[in-house]
Symmetry: C2
Subunit: 339 residues, 2 copies
């Protein structure tokens, strides 16, 4: 089959690789209907050492079940399914608590920008979707594999609700969907920090009430002006770079919560008295997407939310390298891949 492989920073190729097969009785084989490129894929695209590669790419996909291991119940060949970016057994103590990203038998997908994907722990991982292969909802359903649920995780972890003021740091797909998730949870003031007007315009349609284009101290000052000088109860950090973290800490209200879903590209950061003296909480993490799919699916199916609007480009599998380039150059917000 054809699959996307990264050889080093800036070097993405599409190659012929062996077809995946059932390896464990808990596996499924899924033919990819739609995949996409994630903002987190851009991190290795910027930094990957060729000595660490080559590495297959992709962790977001929907597809059709082609083959099943003998231990998989609840999913059938021919089912149209979505997988979260992390697979999980659905039965361990962490899965039962809704923390599927810490499943004791779990792991992360990294081969989804390809024609076919092997799905470990298929019974716990896959969710059947009640639509056909030609459904117009496929883009929005695809976001349930990561970005919609990740934005939701940011908001839920921060305790966003009707009485919560919210700042979203970052106008990538996850940031925009964190705004959508906050609106869905009832937040009335949602400040979106981002400086790409085409993106923040979509953010406004998703529910952002204010947009702050300034960054650094100026951006912090602007958010404080919008919030009576205090900052917001919840800050959803959807970037992953240290300046975004610092921005988040600068706009959070005393007693508030900074919730991170951007994969941190740093190991250390400021957690001293500025945070402690104000009782600021730092939470979030790798989103347990599997925990949220059933909750968000009905709103996607009935059109209440349309997270698929984050896809502004679609390419065939052979053009995946161009999708990375376009997202890196900010020419595309998020690119869907149609094998």
């Amino acid at each position: 089959m054809r699959a996307t492989v990264m050889y080093g920073a800036g070097d993405v190729r599409v190659e012929t690789v062996p077809d995946p097969k059932i390896e464990q009785p808990t596996d499924a084989i899924v033919r990819t209907l739609r995949a996409c490129v994630c903002g987190s894929d851009l991190h290795p695209y910027h930094t990957m050492d060729p000595a660490d590669g080559p590495s297959p790419m992709g962790h977001e996909f929907i597809g059709v079940v082609e083959d099943l291991g003998s231990d998989v119940d609840g999913v059938r060949a021919g089912d149209l399914v979505v997988a979260p970016f992390a697979y999980s057994d659905g039965t361990c103590e962490f899965c039962r608590e809704g923390l599927h990203t810490s499943c004791v038998n779990g792991g992360f997908f990294s081969t989804a920008q390809a024609e076919v994907v092997r799905v470990p722990q298929a019974q716990g991982t896959l969710v059947t979707l009640p639509v056909g292969e030609d459904s117009e909802l496929l883009p929005s359903l695809l976001t349930l594999s990561d970005v919609m649920c990740t934005g939701h995780h940011a908001a839920v972890s921060a305790g966003v609700g009707p009485s919560t003021t919210v700042t979203v740091v970052g106008d990538g797909a996850v940031g925009l969907l964190a705004a959508l998730a906050s609106r869905r949870l009832g937040a009335e003031q949602i400040i979106l920090m981002g400086r790409h007007t085409d993106r923040t315009d979509l953010g406004r349609e998703f529910g952002a009430t204010d947009v702050v284009a300034e960054r650094g101290d100026e951006g912090i000052e602007r958010v404080r002006e919008l919030t009576g000088g205090q900052g917001t109860h919840a800050v959803l950090e959807c970037v992953g770079h240290l300046p975004a973290y610092e921005q988040a800490m600068g706009v959070v209200r005393a007693g508030g919560v900074v919730s991170r879903v951007g994969v941190p590209q740093y190991t250390d950061g400021p957690i001293g008295f500025g945070m402690f003296g104000r009782n600021v909480t730092l939470t979030g993490g790798a989103a347990p997407v599997r925990a949220y799919i059933e909750e968000l699916l009905p709103d996607v199916l009935d059109g209440t939310i349309q997270p698929g609007r984050v896809f502004d480009h679609t390419v065939g599998l052979e053009d995946t390298p161009g999708a990375y380039r376009a997202m890196d150059a900010r020419e595309a917000l998020k690119v869907m891949v149609r094998p």
Copy 2:
């Protein structure tokens, strides 16, 4: 009056200073009945630059009201009162939310190791105690000014309850009272990390179910052995030094909470993928003691909890410098000062 003044690291003196007077109509003047030395007082005792001094000391006290500003209601001359370590108006948006340490008219006491203390925002700050000056409960009531409520804040912020496993990092007064608070909130497994047997023995009486004397990787391994390999849901960091933070991050379960109440003696620390990938939350901070006094007071008055047992030495005001030395040398757990 006589008061404790720090001139630099290791240099604590008792001096005659002007008597405090009512300065604002919201002030009260309180004659100190009992004060004490806090673990956090040892931080400047280790590091204070003489160029930053001299600095009056002390933020924990109970006493008798001697004088009142014209705007103070609800407290009367002659009342025996406790003050939290931070004063607050009790009416601002933060006080109404229970975050009195962020009161817009608030601040921190720093003159309590003295014969008399001026109390700003007296109406919001002081809590009248229904006991006499000769009550045997004075030591336990004094802990409501800081260490008991601070241990409680650590536990409450971490969500400690009957189904929560807990690790307490640190066997100082706050650590021992964090164990007591966790027991009071229903936790059944409470692992106390500390290596001073006389202290951890008291911790066991307060409710600790296990004691881990090892530190670093060995200590982390030991806690994991005690928790089926996973660590505990809640970790209460009651020290404030970076190794304690690192220890806390090492023993917290995925999806768990590290709650800090030890004043951080560092500005940066590890918050990278090790924390993010496991969805670990970092919370806590300067305890809003005022929010907790009414809740804990009945349990102190009826003897359900005896937090005053952390005081193992008592000195007169002239001997306060010796109290610092004894606590620094670990000869004393916590020293009460009786002016």
